[in-house]
């Protein structure tokens, strides 16, 4: 720390609390209606993502409940084919694009700065823009659904069914454009996360001291950057084929429907890891906290995350085993799809070792984490089955796959998510959730989930394909379908109790201390909920588990201004202080840009000229966004006409 020396200063508690109050004023969120739309506080943006994603989760669940009601009996006439085909499309699209990835993004935006000890995220206006685009996309999809132009070709929208010849009207276009909205939101969130974790860490937080969930978010963000362009290309070429007569997928003019599948699944397989990797970070977080000891195998766990991310890009053809591709090529993807179980296995063994050698406390978050073991492992085993080409030839596109995907996604991601939401609820809201209701909701969800999805393995094996709005009696599918419907109702009740718990706790829950779970990471060192500036004072980090292992009296970081929004930017590998940076103020322009972009994207479903004329408003909004408002706070560095800048005079502590 040659340019940021450790010195001794006579700091009193009174000086520190004065600084804290000044920081709270400086970082206070903007007020009023304009303030609401100008928000750049990462905790508020993160909370918006989480709440909006959970609302979509409920909507997606309602759609699924309707599907299950229709399938409870053979030849049921509750819902006809047109509506049913829209329901399963909307369910999949909602869960994958409007719930699973955004909720993890929301948790990331809320907690990443807290975990790495920073005052805020990098590029907060970009994050704000990401939220508005996400919200706009979701609203657009549901309004389309209500106007009867919602998509009905499944969540991956294969051509030619979704193409210009067989997909009349605008239904497939609403799907394709929804992709654009959500993919932009994800990409933006990924950039924000990477820059925050790389450059905003507290001094002393070397890379090998970064908490597991932050690592998971970092690796996921890299995956997003390399995976999302593929779906962007798939959805764009789909719209182009439909709107302006291109022939990417028209076999009569040299195109190929299989090209669409390659483009989509090159994204689509990593997509499930985008959902799953953050949840693995959450698992490490929960297991560590509720085993009261540092996680066993930190380096192995991080390596496993990175290995999963790389390998995840080499599996996509396993979604295409029935397409008739050459056998040797397919065998490679079988091998890769099975080998990816190895990093997952490493993680499971490390978590078992942690519990084995720790002091376990069975609080509701821990129960959800334990639920992962049962459900995800079963899902992983059925995954190994469908990874094999011969077996997949039988099981592809049947209810066996529906069972598999729900086991890995709900067991692998949703259960850890619910555990983490419970765990972090006190930190975010300042209230403790009700333990008893937490236990009840866990059991309802666990039992309901297995009752819903376990029978589907059998259904697939006795011949029931996916995406059927009804089935004939006499095939032996009746009882299993009825059981699945009963399970779905149980799950719905479980989800309801979770909601009741959250609402009750918000109104009447016990006040939460800073660290009710006696956990070890930095978010627990500040109040519940955190103040706008997150931390004060900010101490240099000395270990992986600062609240357990840092010696008392670590140096406090001083010299970052508290009268203006300033952050400390540190170096990538060793988190040494590098420079001070003016964090952007609240601004309405991200919202305006998002609305202008929304208008352009919706217009472009109807006319290609939207990309020309419709791109002008967002361009103007972005110019306003980036145009400087006066000089930056660091007036001391106004550049002379020639020559080098002067370093600022030492400002010292407030």
């Amino acid at each position: 720390m040659s340019r940021a020396p450790v010195i001794e200063l006579p700091l009193t508690d009174e000086m520190l609390s004065r600084q804290s109050r000044e920081l709270a004023r400086t970082w206070a969120p903007a007020r009023g209606i304009i303030g609401f739309f100008s928000e750049v506080d990462h905790k508020r943006i993160g909370m918006r993502f989480i709440l909006t994603a959970l609302a979509f989760f409920v909507l997606g669940g309602v759609l699924a409940a309707l599907m299950r009601l229709q399938l409870a009996f053979p030849e049921n006439t509750l819902i006809g084919p047109d509506l049913y085909n829209q329901l399963f499309t909307m369910h999949g699209t909602t869960m994958m694009f409007l719930f699973a990835v955004p909720v993890m993004e929301g948790l990331g935006l809320y907690f990443t700065p807290l975990l790495v000890g920073a005052r805020t995220i990098a590029l907060p206006r970009l994050a704000a823009f990401g939220y508005w685009i996400f919200l706009a996309g979701g609203v657009f999809l549901y309004v389309s659904f209500l106007l009867n132009i919602g998509p009905d070709n499944g969540w991956f929208s294969y051509v030619p069914l979704a193409g210009p010849e067989f997909g009349p009207g605008k239904r497939a276009d609403t799907w394709a454009q929804l992709i654009t909205f959500t993919e932009v939101a994800s990409l933006v969130g990924a950039i924000v996360t990477i820059v925050t974790i790389f450059k905003y860490r507290r001094p002393g937080m070397t890379l090998d001291r970064v908490p597991m969930f932050a690592w998971a978010e970092l690796v996921t963000s890299f995956m997003i950057i390399f995976a999302m362009p593929a779906v962007m290309l798939a959805s764009t070429t789909l719209i182009l084929d439909r709107l302006v007569g291109t022939h990417f997928f028209n076999q009569a003019e040299g195109g190929d429907p299989i090209l669409y599948q390659h483009l989509f699944w090159f994204f689509g397989h990593p997509e499930v890891y985008l959902i799953f990797l953050p949840a693995q970070g959450l698992m490490s977080t929960l297991i560590q906290a509720f085993s009261s000891r540092p996680i066993v195998g930190y380096v192995w766990l991080v390596t496993a995350l990175v290995a999963t991310a790389f390998m995840g890009f080499g599996l996509w053809v396993h979604h295409m085993f029935t397409v008739g591709l050459p056998q040797n090529g397919s065998s490679f993807f079988t091998a890769a799809s099975m080998m990816i179980a190895i990093p997952s296995g490493v993680q499971i063994f490390c978590w078992i070792a942690t519990m084995w050698t720790g002091r376990v406390r069975l609080e509701p978050p821990m129960l959800f984490a334990l639920g992962y073991f049962v459900i995800f492992i079963i899902g992983g085993m059925t995954g190994i089955m469908v990874a094999s080409v011969p077996v997949d030839l039988q099981l592809h596109d049947t209810y066996f796959v529906v069972a598999h995907l729900h086991y890995v996604l709900i067991g692998g991601a949703v259960f850890p998510l619910f555990g983490a939401l419970y765990y972090w609820f006190p930190k975010m809201t300042g209230r403790m959730p009700n333990r008893r209701l937490g236990m009840i909701s866990f059991w309802l969800l666990f039992i309901g989930f297995n009752l819903t999805f376990f029978p589907m393995h059998q259904l697939g094996m006795i011949g029931m394909p996916r995406r059927v709005y009804t089935y004939l009696p006499g095939l032996g599918w009746e009882t299993l379908n009825l059981a699945a419907t009963a399970g779905a109702i149980t799950m719905a009740i479980g989800a309801l109790t979770l909601t009741v718990n959250a609402v009750y706790a918000l109104r009447r829950g016990e006040a939460a201390a800073a660290n009710p779970w006696q956990a070890s990471t930095l978010e627990w060192s500040t109040s519940s909920p955190p103040p706008p500036h997150n931390f004060s004072p900010e101490r240099v980090i000395a270990s992986r588990d600062p609240l357990w292992d840092d010696p008392p009296g670590q140096p406090i970081v001083v010299g970052v201004r508290s009268d203006k929004r300033e952050v400390l930017v540190t170096r990538l590998l060793d988190a040494e202080p590098d420079h001070r940076y003016h964090s952007p103020e609240p601004s309405i322009w991200p919202f305006v840009t998002a609305m202008a972009t929304t208008f352009m994207l919706i217009w472009s479903i109807f006319s290609p000229w939207a990309l020309v004329w419709g791109s002008i408003p967002p361009a103007i909004a972005m110019i306003f966004w980036f145009w400087p408002r006066g000089r930056s706070i660091d007036d001391e560095t106004h550049p002379p006409e020639k020559g080098r800048p002067q370093l600022e005079a030492a400002t010292g502590p407030a």
Binding site: R293, V296, V323, M355, M385, Q394, G463
Partner: protein
């Protein structure tokens, strides 16, 4: 269990089922072992008050577990590759060649033969001789469909602009149901078919019968039925060889009464269901391509009588 992966009646499905059972037992054992470890870990953790922080020995066990996982996976990969090779080896130069074209929402079947007049066209039903290799060439007329008869083999997609061949060999006689397994629009749920495996001599008799032109109507009602068929919209879509009906965009009806279902497996082929179907196909299979013809009851009965004798 006519449509089950677990009741293999052919060589291909038998190989796959065998592999599946191996995977089932291996994965079940692994699941039980790992879950037992979780239970033990939790119990130890609940009972603990002091903490054992020697990371090294835990990591050694993690390493052992990882290596075991890799070994098991390599074994399963090997088993999978062996099965793939076995399936690929079941091709034969003198297989029975059948071309199946998938339409929204039915299956056109054409038995190949070097002489065009010996080719047999039917729909939604295949007969195959037991013990003989059959090569099914899959084509798609419109969107992607998937041909799947689980008792005999895994599925293969029919993709516009592509040709793919599914090799089958039934080893047991029986009636095996199949269903489209790639979402193909409105009535994907009602796009089934049947494969009937029968002794070779029975098969020969069947195919010879199928090669004949349509059975001539006998009674007056049946004759009237034929007359009506040739004068209404039926001829726009359907073929009945030996009559003026030559449409090619709907199932071939020449030997309609030799088949067991209507509407690609949607209803059994009985007089009553046939009458309902012709009266209002949209009520039974909404969105399918057959229009409502608006025939009088008497006309419809005559047509039903005629069709029912097209064995």
């Amino acid at each position: 269990m006519l449509q089950s992966v677990l009741h293999a009646a052919g060589i291909q499905s038998a190989r796959i089922e065998a592999l599946w059972w191996v995977m089932f037992w291996v994965t079940t054992a692994v699941t039980l072992v790992v879950l037992a470890l979780v239970v033990v870990a939790v119990r130890r953790g609940l009972a603990a008050d002091a903490m054992d922080v020697t990371e090294r020995s835990s990591l050694r066990r993690v390493a052992v577990g990882t290596v075991l996982t890799a070994v098991i996976l390599l074994g399963l990969i090997g088993g999978s590759v062996i099965t793939s090779r076995a399936l690929a080896s079941q091709r034969s130069a003198d297989a029975l060649m059948i071309e199946v074209t998938a339409y929204q929402w039915w299956w056109a079947v054409e038995y190949q033969h070097p002489e065009p007049e010996q080719r047999v066209r039917t729909a939604n039903e295949l007969h195959i001789p037991v013990g003989k290799t059959v090569a099914i060439k899959l084509l798609a007329n419109d969107v992607i469909h998937s041909f799947w008869v689980p008792a005999l083999h895994g599925k293969l997609d029919a993709i516009p602009g592509h040709e793919a061949t599914l090799w089958l060999r039934a080893d047991q006689a029986g009636v095996y149901r199949g269903q489209c397994a790639e979402y193909c629009g409105h009535q994907h749920a009602h796009m089934a078919f049947v494969v009937i495996a029968e002794p070779p001599d029975v098969f020969e008799r069947w195919i010879q019968a199928q090669r004949q032109t349509a059975h001539a109507p006998a009674t007056e009602q049946e004759q009237r039925g034929l007359h009506l068929v040739q004068r209404t919209a039926c001829v726009m879509c359907h073929t009945i060889r030996g009559t003026a009906a030559g449409g090619r965009i709907a199932p071939d009806l020449t030997h309609f009464a030799s088949r067991s279902t209507i509407g690609a497996g949607t209803r059994p082929r009985t007089r009553e269901y046939l009458d309902q179907w012709i009266k209002d196909p949209q009520a039974i299979k909404p969105g399918n391509r057959m229009p409502t013809l608006g025939l009088s009851d008497a006309d419809r009965s005559a047509i039903v009588a005629y069709l029912e004798q097209l064995r």
